[in-house]
Subunit: 207 residues, 2 copies
DNA sequence: TCCAGAACTAGACCGAGTGCAAATATATAC
DNA sequence: GTATATATTTGCACTCGGTCTAGTTCTGGA
């Protein structure tokens, strides 16, 4: 199954990405050229682009899994559970587990990476594609499993995904400001609960 | 006040943008180089970049005004009006007026431009900066005039702006599919009313 | 009229990304 | 094991967006 070819490919892929991220973290994404990354990874520039379609992907491919995470949560929820509740509980669980995607992980290597993504325009821009993908996948999941019209599902997906990103960005900003994940945790939980309560109950009461 | 210098600048700005859009509409955004645009506008490439910071801005600068539109609507609402109601009414009025920003304008030149923006990844990406700016401005307006906490204001802004874009994109897709703005109008109104009702009442009832 | 500063220009330059043809490594058939 | 088909890698030239430099032209104001 996993021939030499496949294994070698996987190793090359990892080697390029690791060389890239090390250089980017040390000197900044914009201050390192792909030629330098290729040299550090001991491949040609041409080969680098055979593995990663664009410079930004050297970094953001690590977050690719999360694109369909919300959709999976909705599809895998226990029968009788409301989608919104499943999403909220999953997010709160992510906070508890210090899942990097919640912005609440202060392991230096991870925090530095998240910071770089949020602070580098080109990387933020690339991340938005994941956000769009997440919206689409979540909308489909809601439509399939909650028996709700397509428009409603899509509107809900936009709201949920947008809110989750805002929560994660806020947490990341707090940690970047020097707080520990443990110190931020209670506020992160409060913010998440407030956000999901707002999603569930609507804005009418407050606006 | 408006000396020759200023007028000349404005004329050059318009000339470059018009030359660019004409070429882009004729052959596609990616198939025209900035060098060609500069040549068509009879300026040097360097001058072009003195007026527009990036190729994408040759197109999207036309939508720049709308960045603060939602915020202005909230700030200018009659006393006693709820922000969400003001935003909904403004959007519905935009539909009635066939405001291009609602996606419901089928004047060929405008529709073609909107289509190009939505279908060209680089342009869509650039538009997202406006979306982020709109979120920030709206959040501030809500915080200033509705006496609501900062987090609540920001969460609401993300939801509102995201929903408005979705509605506009849907309308544009419908017109691109060949329908007239008048034919689409009733659906557009229904979709908008549904969306704002969802924002106001929350997702709990349906999800 | 003259000067300071703004606007413009040509051309070299940089980095991201692609196309191509040659070279090398791996898998498979015999 | 050899030969052959198929991936993979490579160097190199090229395009395009965008910047830098240095020098030129134009405009507003004293």
């Amino acid at each position: 199954m996993t021939g030499l070819r496949e294994r070698k490919r996987a190793r090359t892929h990892a080697a390029i990405s690791e060389a890239a991220i090390a250089l980017f973290l040390a000197r900044g994404f914009d201050e390192v050229s792909v030629a330098e990354v290729a040299e550090a990874a001991e491949v040609s520039k041409r080969t680098l682009f055979a593995y990663f379609p664009a410079k930004e992907d050297l970094v953001v491919h690590r977050f690719a899994d999360h694109e369909t995470e919300a959709a999976r949560v909705v599809r895998a929820r226990p029968p009788g559970t409301r989608p919104l509740v499943a999403l909220r509980d999953h997010f709160l669980d992510g906070l508890r587990r210090r899942d990097p995607i919640t912005g609440l992980n202060d392991v230096p290597a991870i925090l530095a990476l998240v910071r770089m993504v949020l602070e580098t325009p080109a990387l933020r821009t690339r991340m938005i594609r994941f956000q769009e993908g997440a919206e689409r996948a979540l909308a489909e999941a809601l439509q399939d499993t909650a028996g709700v019209p397509a428009l409603t599902a899509r509107l809900a997906a936009v709201q949920v995904v947008g809110v989750q990103w805002l929560l994660a960005a806020d947490n990341s900003v707090a940690l970047t400001g020097g707080r520990s994940a443990d110190a931020r945790y209670p506020e992160a939980v409060a913010a998440a609960e407030h956000a999901f309560a707002l999603l569930a109950g609507g804005l009418a009461e407050r606006l």
